[in-house]
Symmetry: D3
Subunit: 241 residues, 6 copies
């Protein structure tokens, strides 16, 4: 019942956030959850998408992608296949929604911030690392706008972090790596604000017989809340350096 | 605080299931959740996708789509735009996963069943109506296989149904229609098995300030469990006729 | 030489037109030619395509598609394949041209009406059912515009209906079903106005040796004229209810 | 009422067929109908499409396209737009069907012949020139197969030629050029075999009020029959040189 | 060591330029380098691409393509495959860059000239024939603009021509045909101005062990300079007729 | 005439090669040419593309791409646009050709190695950094194959490195950064083997009046040879650590 990397069930992998890893982006972070490595870049642009023009409100969106050899087996590029897969779309939308939960669009004015989350290396939990790193890049992009006096107030009303939880061999565990993820019965991604409220709960019973009862659901939510609390502290520390 | 169609917060819309609405499909159901109308068709094919060949196990998958004028404003066809949007992918994947939770693939042998869920008219809750109707079509497709003596045992290990819950003006409500859905702070789609276990929990705080606490989450899960219990009874009745 | 469903050569299948089958569309009809079932929806939009702007004239166009399991064997979705097939294009264009033959674009003003014709179930003659049903949806969309006082005069200068004719085992027959269509030597789709003039004549000798002489062509045209006369009466009745 | 190029109503434009214009193709013809210039190339390949394998029968298919500056105004390349338009599909299918009407697939064995019809210069009637020229290229490709002793008997059971007819200012005319075509009320493309039977009749009333009666239809069919008779003679002469 | 067509190493194939081969284009040339036959059409349009508007400067661009049966074996159409291959892109860009080297965009005003270079028959050297022929079409398009008094001064500051050189069996040769090209160790395409300056030098060692030293590079450049001098004379003659 | 970063004309930017930056790839290098940062990953797969099967020979290919925010202004993802641009194709092909010049495919057996070169940050010279880094990743992938005893002999017959040279304000310079590249008259990318032979010479006069004479070409080639000699030494050092 030991975890493959020796962690206890409630333990995160080592988390590192390299802020400003990129020179051109208005905010950026290379975030590591163990061997998972995601490069998050925030781009600030004047103006908003057509359907939002004239509202005086801003917009935040995200695009997620994996480099072809981020994984154990090379995957074909989505640009070469000519279309974006369902999983990519789903995760891009999740990241965008998660960040928008802590943005006051009125305070942001008609600017758009795009978060590019590119997985350089994958070992499970790429979407939760992406949300967690993207928040840091977003915070720096907001600082960039304020420094240039394009915004009066900080549009961020809080922070967000995300973590995966799952059930492996009957045991609820925090922050699954790829090995654990691939054998988990239940897989849940949870996004929480810095003050402990839920932004997203996406739990899935993987395969026949894995449906879970209310008690187990509660245990998983407890695990996730604890994990995000730790991640929030790490984000804060990175942003204060 | 009254609901636009006069329902109490714990009340489903009228649900109708027209079994065998199609002549060619091995199983089919036209399901209505109020004005939401989804045509679910099950197609049985010999063989399985390449990555599953030789395992002796079957496969169940789903495709969701909306007719261009199912909605209030006409939407461009995805075939004309040349690509499938993120929302379509996400829902197709959700339906497939939900159904697979109650299928014993070994008992199914190397057959593939595809569930086509086409929204003829939309008024909120199209994805939950699709899951609920697709289960009925799937059950009939399994009967079709057993009648033709292609299967010894019933591969279905249970049933699934789905319902949406949400918070409108602070009030948790069951089975939102479009009007309610468009103003809800929190939107949650829940898939449960017939014996009350969770298959999918997808909760999202819609927009800034909507993050929800644990207590509210619990209320929403209670509502969803009650709604799916009713839907399960309706499915059973439809399949027994 | 008997027809598979017992009809005489000059006999249509039972035709049903369910007007206003959809709640959102400005006009709609679920039309049945026997087991062929096509859902026709008319969408009214202000404005016209770019190349027509400023002319003061309206536009009518159509899109045809088949649900994947409308047919005996499931067909891949065109949205999934990422492109629209030649047959789909050809039929969409035919429907649009046919309807435009009875529209006075000046009287219509700069509005666009799009007819979506989605085949829910196919048993031969889907394109002719689509033209015939689309006319009914179009007529209702025009009424919708007049009721809202957006048009002074009725832009419809007549009605259109369509039917297939073909030669099976040497015998000219009206309104072929799928079984007949698949063995026919000659296949012809004819669109006529309510006063018996030709809008489209599309006759094809299917395969080697099937080329037809002038006498046979004349017989087929007679059959088609008779069939469309009946369809015109059915349309009128539906629209008067 | 005079035609723009001085022809009488029943007169074809000057027709030229340059056989074997290409070095690599197994058959080829550069055909001119006045200023319309289409390069037709026949490619012979061993084998047939998947759905026809093992039948012992051959296949004939066609692809039509226009060079971007074949027309008065440059058109975007379909390769650049990333998809083939409806008109292109429709004409490609027409050419293929027309040729297949005079091919005995059993005698052809499992070979595929593809006719590429590329419009180098367009002045109306490109599809009818393409059918007429493609037949010549096809005939040479069949000879090529017989010379190499891959076929015992000639699979061609006849010839095909095509011509357009239309009504301009009330006058039925043969072989419209672009100027005439763009103002015609009725436009009809007719494909006939060398012995005067119909393979395709595609007549369209262009726009409101253009629907045509039976008498006019008969006149147009007479004109087309006469024109194809002349074209058949020109094909024969070209192939005998 | 003799060349397949008997030429000496420094000899071009017979070159023919048929000016104004097309009726609609503002400039056109059918150019032949031996059996290689490329149709070059220049289209003049008012205005420039968005990124260049308001600069008062013109733009020249090119699109290259091969007809499916220009080659020995039929190639699939790029429009059918739905995307343009890397080689096509590369050559289109090369042609555009080459021509722009001799255009004074200020003198051209805000006009765009597009050069369509379609290979009707291929026997090696299609891109160099395209550059050489496109220059002639471009020159005629500039004359067209000046005749219509849309330009005061000739924007052409010189001429360009292109030729391939390569090493076959150790011997440097000018203007390779397909047979030679397919066995060459080194392949180089060189574009020169009429006064002997380099616009493009694209040399490639084809395959393992083919890397070339400076001495050989110099010999190839000498050959190319000589070849382009001859081509420049042929262009001049064609344009003076 | 000073360079923006203070280098002398013959000086490279600081070059760093981080070998084995990725955990999954069979070879990898994060290479830096100043602020240009390219992640090169080599993937080894059994088997070769269809057209090469049964030859006993291997294959090496490459794919180049830029992350959206590698540049100063965010670029749309090619996966989102649904197609790969001409520049991307051109560079991918260049990298593949360059590497193949030093591979003995017979010694490699039927394996395929794919080099993914993803630009994480761009400041000019991304393609030359990619070639230089990809060679290091390729060398490690070959070692990987030999360690697993899948190859007897080293298929690498030498090394390759690449550098850009150009003319800025009349001065020939080595290894241009973005600032220099954007104002250069002439831009040349040169790939050389470790023993100083040319694999690729791609020189372009950028815009009107920039065509260059033979003397200048010689100076640029000298600069490139010197630069690649240094890069070869840096590759060797990286591979020996």
């Amino acid at each position: 019942m030991a975890r493959p990397d020796g962690r206890v069930p409630t333990q995160l992998r080592p988390v590192n956030i390299h802020r400003n890893w990129l020179r051109h982006a208005e905010g950026s972070a290379l975030i590591e959850f163990g061997d998972t490595r995601v490069l998050c870049a925030a781009t600030v642009e004047d103006g908003v998408p057509r359907w939002r023009r004239g509202t005086g409100e801003g917009w935040v969106t995200a695009e997620y992608a994996m480099l072809p050899r981020s994984t154990d087996t090379r995957g074909a590029r989505e640009s070469v296949r000519g279309k974006i897969g369902g999983r990519t779309h789903e995760i891009s939308r999740l990241i965008g929604r998660s960040l928008r939960a802590v943005v006051d669009f009125k305070a942001m004015g008609e600017h758009t911030i795009t978060l590019d989350c590119d997985v350089l290396q994958a070992d499970g939990g790429t979407r939760t690392a992406a949300v967690t790193g993207a928040y840091v890049a977003l915070a720096d992009a907001m600082k960039h706008l304020r420094k240039r006096r394009k915004l009066k107030n900080n549009p961020l009303t809080g922070s967000v972090a995300a973590v995966s939880v799952g059930v492996v061999q009957g045991q609820p565990r925090l922050d699954l790596n790829y090995l654990e993820d691939s054998v988990a019965d239940t897989d849940m991604n949870v996004v929480l604000t810095g003050d402990g409220k839920f932004v997203e709960v996406q739990g899935t019973a993987e395969g026949q017989g894995a449906a879970f009862d209310r008690e187990l659901l509660n245990k998983l939510l407890d695990l996730a809340s604890g994990g995000c609390e730790e991640l929030t502290a790490i984000q804060k520390k990175a942003l204060s350096e």
